[in-house]
């Protein structure tokens, strides 16, 4: 029976397979039925996102369901049936074939999908074993090209022995230097020919903690317990005779009392955040060492887990020189070497494997590191060009107008005279920020690089080699066309970089020049 269906399918998809299967030797294979569990879980996850966030809602709605079971139960059962049915269908239509140094995957129930991936294009083979696969010796094999993550080839359930064999075969089809080396070790060894480029001391990390919010390192780890913690803090404050509700009663208090309350509250929030941020920065960057061995950059850091990231210079896509407003005041810079994003999107936010960050370096150190990576770059002394002032006008129009309108409508009812002051102060504040952000925007180009500057209170510089561009886009609304302006965007493997509101002529020439450099030099982007 299975064979019948199989041949049915074969015929059904013959059209698709004909194109690429002149040399096929193997037949289409279906994966193990264990994948059913995978499909069910994937669907459920896709629908509900994360169970944790939904749990309270489910708990509350339980009462409603109990109240009116004749209305809700059929819905729930139908829903479950639908999920199971679509999992079975996804399983049924998932097939793969190995032939002639390439893997082909057919999938999709209504929307048919066909992927054809030659081994030589596969950058990384990742094997994951969910808990429910382990007893049966199956594994989920993900094949990454450096392309987009969502569309990657994934053999959902494959025998582990076979997977390992296939992995060897795939990696053998590769030039060995193209394989990524990202390792996490307890005791990273340093080889002989390494040159240390930069180290960070404790004081640098404290500065980094103050100027940059590294709290998320905690928040990421603490998320499951956040409710309990906030409860505990509430109880603890109450113990000391501090009544939170009382604190927020503004009636019968004078202006300065409210002001001190606001300031002390801000401090109460800011101080712990800053302290946590400093600790977070130390956890992430303790004993930071950036060294270079041949054309490999190696970053080692971390207090608890020593994290080692190795990146070949050729994999570097863009250099980001980042300064928050506090960094500007203290003269420190965060330098980022970013490489391809695609392979690392699934990793946790705390792991910074896709880029090398050098935290809070001084201007001189920063320039030294940039020059080391790209000797011909002129980031330090190139003249940046401003974008058209129409961007400023547009942003003022879009952001200031509605906000002032809203405030006006709220305040006008009560105090028509005070209103003018409130609105003026607010509008001025926003306009100042928008103007700052406009003044920061700039771009520059030389023979090899495109430079982009942006920011608001702080300032960020981006610098990328033109031949690394993956895709360009040229955007022009009807209004921009009248003014001979345009916006352009360069897509790199590390992400997109946009330049808004520049003259049409320059925009076109930047894009044409980039496309030509990419296509003519034929240089590899990694």
């Amino acid at each position: 029976m299975d064979n019948e269906l199989h041949s049915d399918l074969e015929r059904d998809c013959e059209q698709t397979s004909q194109s690429a299967s002149h040399t096929s030797t193997n037949n289409w294979q279906r994966i193990s039925p264990i994948a059913l569990i995978y499909f069910v879980l994937k669907l459920v996850k896709g629908i509900f996102g994360n169970f944790i966030y939904l749990a309270p809602a489910l708990y509350l709605s339980y009462d409603k369901v109990a109240e009116n079971p004749s209305f809700w139960l059929p819905i729930i059962y139908g829903f479950i049936a639908l999920i199971v049915l679509s999992a079975v269908l996804s399983f049924y239509f998932f097939q793969y074939r190995l032939s002639n140094q390439q893997i082909e995957i057919r999938s999709g129930v209504f929307s048919k999908k066909y992927i054809n991936l030659p081994f030589s294009r596969i950058q990384n083979v990742e094997l994951t074993e969910p808990l429910y696969y382990r007893p049966f010796g199956y594994t989920c094999m993900q094949l990454d090209t450096a392309g987009s993550i969502k569309q990657e080839a994934k053999v959902v359930a494959i025998n582990k022995r076979k997977a390992l064999q296939l992995k060897d075969e795939i990696l053998a089809a590769h030039k060995p230097e193209n394989v990524t080396t990202n390792t996490e070790q307890d005791s990273p060894e340093q080889s002989e020919d390494e040159v240390v480029l930069d180290t960070r001391n404790l004081d640098d990390l404290v500065i980094h903690g103050i100027t940059n919010n590294r709290v998320w390192i905690f928040i990421a780890g603490l998320a499951p317990f956040i409710d309990q913690i906030s409860d505990k803090i509430g109880q603890w404050l109450y113990l000391f005779g501090f009544n939170v509700e009382q604190y927020f009663e503004f009636e019968g208090k004078s202006g300065w009392q409210i002001a001190t309350t606001a300031i002390s509250l801000t401090l109460m929030v800011m101080i712990p955040i800053t302290i946590f941020s400093i600790i977070g920065s130390i956890i992430a960057f303790h004993d930071f060492k950036l060294s270079k061995s041949g054309d490999r950059y190696i970053r080692r850091s971390g207090l608890f887990t020593r994290n080692e990231v190795t990146m070949r210079l050729s994999r570097l896509q863009v250099i980001v020189r980042q300064q928050d407003w506090l960094d500007v005041l203290l003269g420190r810079i965060n330098l980022k070497f970013e490489q391809s994003n695609a392979n690392f999107q699934q990793t946790q936010p705390g792991q910074l494997t896709n880029k090398i960050i050098v935290p809070s370096v001084t201007r001189k150190e920063c320039q030294f590191l940039i020059d080391d990576a790209y000797p011909e770059n002129q980031l330090a002394d190139i003249q940046f060009k401003r974008v058209s002032p129409r961007l400023l006008v547009r942003n003022l129009f879009i952001f200031v107008m509605p906000i002032t309108a809203i405030i006006t409508s709220f305040v006008y009812v009560d105090q028509p005279v005070d209103m003018i002051i409130y609105v003026l102060v607010f509008a001025l504040f926003i306009s100042a920020l928008i103007t700052m952000s406009y003044l920061r925007k700039g771009y520059a180009v030389d023979d090899n690089f495109i430079y982009v500057r942006k920011g608001c209170l702080g300032v960020d510089y981006y610098c990328f080699p033109i031949y690394k561009v993956q895709q360009t886009s040229f955007k022009q609304s009807w209004f921009l066309k009248q003014r001979q302006l345009c916006s352009i965007e360069f897509v790199l493997a590390s992400g997109a970089i946009a330049i808004p509101y520049l003259s049409e002529k320059i925009g076109l020439s930047l894009i044409n020049n980039s496309l030509q450099q990419v296509e003519q030099s034929k240089k590899n982007w990694m």
């Binding site: 698709t16 194109s19 009116n68 004749s70 209305f71 059929p74 209504f110 929307s111 048919k112 999908k113 066909y114 992927i115 054809n116 991936l117 030659p118 030589s120 294009r121 950058q123 090209t145 450096a146 392309g147 987009s148 993550i149 969502k150 569309q151 193209n178 391809s340 994003n341 695609a342 561009v469 993956q470 895709q471 360009t472 886009s473 040229f474 955007k475 022009q476 609304s477 009807w478 066309k481 897509v491 790199l492 493997a493 992400g495 997109a496 076109l508 020439s509 894009i511 044409n512 020049n513 496309l515 030509q516 990419v518 296509e519 003519q520 034929k522 240089k523 590899n524 982007w525 990694m526």
Partner: protein, 186 residues
């Protein structure tokens, strides 16, 4: 090897890209999408809207239980919102779809779209990672296909040309796959 390549090659406009003369994306020679795409796309919008509206109505008037009063109001509003979004989408696609065009050159493929906000995306072929043809049930029925081209730019920047005749899409796919720079350079 592939008999259809010569057909594609007639459309080329940047043959002399290697001779240092800069060819601009401002004067690309665009090809239109399949004429079947326009009515099909509008029909899909119409049918999708009607199906969603029918579902909402079905929940409202199902015979088994009386839905709570609040739910009724929500459903009614939802019905109007869905209806007007569908209508707007229909109108927009009526005017915007004919503006969708693609241009295939020796070294790159471009796609232009947008009614008021026009956008031209250009994808150099040697940066292509892999190519897919996407066909939904309607597309299969009428013989259309969407061409998806993946580069290292990530899922957000997938280059996609909708509404191509299946044979044409397959030809373009084959052309990209057999491009001489594709396999040497990642």
């Amino acid at each position: 090897m592939n008999p259809t390549i010569s057909e594609i090659q007639e459309d080329f406009s940047n043959e002399n890209i290697a001779t240092n003369e800069l060819i601009s994306i401002a004067n690309l020679e665009f090809s239109a999408l399949s004429s079947k795409y326009f009515p099909t796309h509008r029909l899909v919008i119409l049918i999708t809207t009607l199906i969603v509206m029918t579902l909402v109505l079905a929940i409202q008037y199902q015979p088994w239980a009386v839905p709570p009063k609040e739910l009724k109001v929500v459903l009614e509003v939802a019905l109007w919102v869905i209806g007007s979004i569908g209508l707007l989408k229909y109108l927009y696609s009526y005017f915007a779809d004919p503006k969708k065009k693609y241009a295939l050159r020796e070294q790159d493929i471009s796609y232009q779209s947008g009614l008021i906000f026009r956008k031209t995306v250009s994808q150099p072929i040697l940066r292509v990672q892999h190519v897919e043809l996407k066909r939904g049930p309607v597309e299969r029925k009428v013989g259309l296909a969407s061409l998806q081209v993946f580069s290292a730019g990530g899922a957000m920047h997938t280059f996609e040309v909708p509404g191509l005749d299946y044979d044409n899409a397959e030809n373009i796919r084959q052309y990209i796959l057999s491009h001489k720079d594709l396999n040497q350079h990642g």
